[in-house]
């Protein structure tokens, strides 16, 4: 289903080029930080939330609503 829409026709090329320059100028003004700092934050977030991540720590069967219920036998 995915199809590519054709690029705007060549007569808009100057307008497109101007827009691109404007866009790049906006991006150039952004304040960026060193990866050593930002990566440390990402790691800290993971570690900080580790205990509350059920897919990492696993959950006990008793609190797992998806675990198959055992059959019960009427005595």
């Amino acid at each position: 289903v995915k199809k590519k829409t054709p690029q705007a026709s060549a007569n808009n090329s100057i307008l497109q080029a101007q827009k691109l320059v404007d866009q790049l100028q906006i991006e150039a003004c952004m304040e960026r930080f060193k990866i050593s700092l930002t990566a440390a934050d990402l790691v800290r977030y993971c570690q900080g939330h580790r205990r509350s991540d059920p897919l990492i720590t696993g959950i006990s069967s008793s609190s797992n609503p998806f675990k198959d219920k055992k059959t019960c036998v009427l005595l």
Partner: protein, 424 residues
């Protein structure tokens, strides 16, 4: 050249008009695209000047053409040429790469060296949701952590209780390929859309006998298929992505377009809203291989990443909102740090050659679940860049993976007509 070289031709600013050109035009530095068919020949053969060229020979034909000159002409009168603009954009790009490069003092996996490895996952399929008559294209969890909505090529949208496998609602759309669906934050409605070029909101009724399809309300209108949709932090606004190359923000009640987002140069295939604490931004990815970050209020594209080598099928924010991941037809998933403004990890393996269709993070952001066209789900260690696990089970492409809101389960939708809910 002070004289308008097309003087004598009837041209109105910005509009197409029929012009008759009986002579050859050789205007230097004039960029004109002349398109049309020759009035003398019966066969339609478009005549167009290649971009950047300045002359074309029309001596042999009488052309009735649409001359779209004005934008190019105005640009030239300002003294800019296409060439100088292209040069400037090249310079800016180079400068951006330099700036980004200066900040790469370390790699993510190096920072993560001291972090202990993830224990082997024992995730198993606990539920298989059967009911769709054709490929399941999308799904979304409800905030109540047990309901989910799914949409399919069969034109149906189903709301399920994932614990009991009960189908609570069934909505029939007049089109096939319902590519997008989303649960409203309140849990009281769902949004869906696809080949109908629309995104509709359907309020869910507690009354089982009520026909929910009848209450369907069109909200978003695009000029091509709707590929993705998401409510913002309330039921009142809807964000959509489309094959028409744009994203748009809509008011659900009135259907009014609140903001549109232009910048992609091909179909937009996916969008994801930043976690509410981080602010009003969202990320989109598409067939132009770019992932763009947008300011929702201004419509401005604030960051752009073009690392992928093929269509980006899915984008998803890291839980803290400071990063996001993408899945692409180039068989890789990538991780981008928004504050460093660059890609910081590529999740790939030589043995993985099929495109990745969907990604989602576990609650802590440590694990990245990625669905692929080879029917598998690979689980990646986000920090170390290694693969932790592979999940099998689907019998056709995995189209969407979503971790439940409480992080306890993973739901995967597939072209095998089923959805699977997996847990430890």
């Amino acid at each position: 050249m002070s004289q308008d070289p097309l003087e004598g031709c009837r041209i109105s600013a910005g509009k197409k008009s029929a012009v008759s050109l009986g002579k050859a035009l050789h205007p230097p530095n004039l960029l004109v695209v002349v398109e049309g068919t020759c009035g003398a020949c019966v066969a339609a053969s478009p005549v167009s000047a290649p971009e950047g060229s300045c002359s074309y020979n029309v001596a042999h034909h009488h052309l009735c053409v649409c001359v779209r000159v004005c934008m190019a002409w105005q640009g030239l009168q300002k003294g800019e040429t296409l060439a100088s603009l292209k040069q400037e954009s090249e310079n800016l790009r180079r400068k951006l790469e330099e700036e980004r490069g200066k900040l790469t003092d370390v790699e993510l996996h190096q920072v993560a060296e001291k972090v202990e490895t993830v224990a082997a996952l024992s995730i198993k399929t606990r539920r298989v949701l059967k009911g769709h008559g054709n490929k399941v294209l999308s799904m979304d969890w409800c905030k109540d952590k047990r309901r989910l909505v799914s949409s399919s090529q069969d034109g149906k949208v189903i709301v399920w209780d994932a614990f009991t496998l009960n189908k609570e609602h069934g909505i029939t759309l007049p089109c096939t390929w319902v590519m997008a669906c989303a649960y409203a934050p309140s849990g009281c409605a769902v949004a869906c859309g696809g080949l109908d070029n629309k995104c509709s909101v359907v309020p869910l009724s507690l009354d089982r006998n009520e026909n929910v399809t009848a209450k369907k309300k069109s909200v978003a209108m695009h000029t091509n298929y709707v590929s993705g949709c998401s409510f913002t932090n309330s039921d009142m606004q809807l964000l959509t992505s489309s094959g028409d190359g744009t994203c748009a923000l809509w008011d659900v009640e009135s259907g009014q377009l609140l903001q549109s987002f232009h910048g992609h140069t091909a179909d937009v295939l996916s969008l994801d809203l930043a976690p509410s604490e981080t602010g009003n931004t969202f990320v989109s990815g598409g067939c132009d291989m770019k992932a763009n970050v947008w300011d929702m209020r201004s419509g401005q594209n604030i960051q752009s990443f073009d690392n992928h080598q093929s269509d980006i099928n899915c984008v998803k924010y890291y839980p803290s909102g400071d990063a996001f991941a993408s899945a692409s037809d180039d068989a890789t998933c990538r991780f981008y740090d928004l504050r460093a403004d660059r890609e910081v990890a590529v999740y790939q393996k030589d043995s993985i050659i099929f495109g990745a269709s969907s990604v989602d993070f576990s609650l802590s952001g440590r694990l990245l679940f990625a669905g692929y066209n080879d029917y598998t789900i690979n689980v990646w260690d986000v920090l170390k860049g290694t693969r932790v696990s592979v999940l099998f089970g689907h019998e056709n492409r995995v189209s969407r993976v979503r971790v439940s809101p409480d992080g306890t389960a993973l739901c995967s939708a597939s072209w095998d007509n089923t959805l699977r809910v997996s847990r430890t």
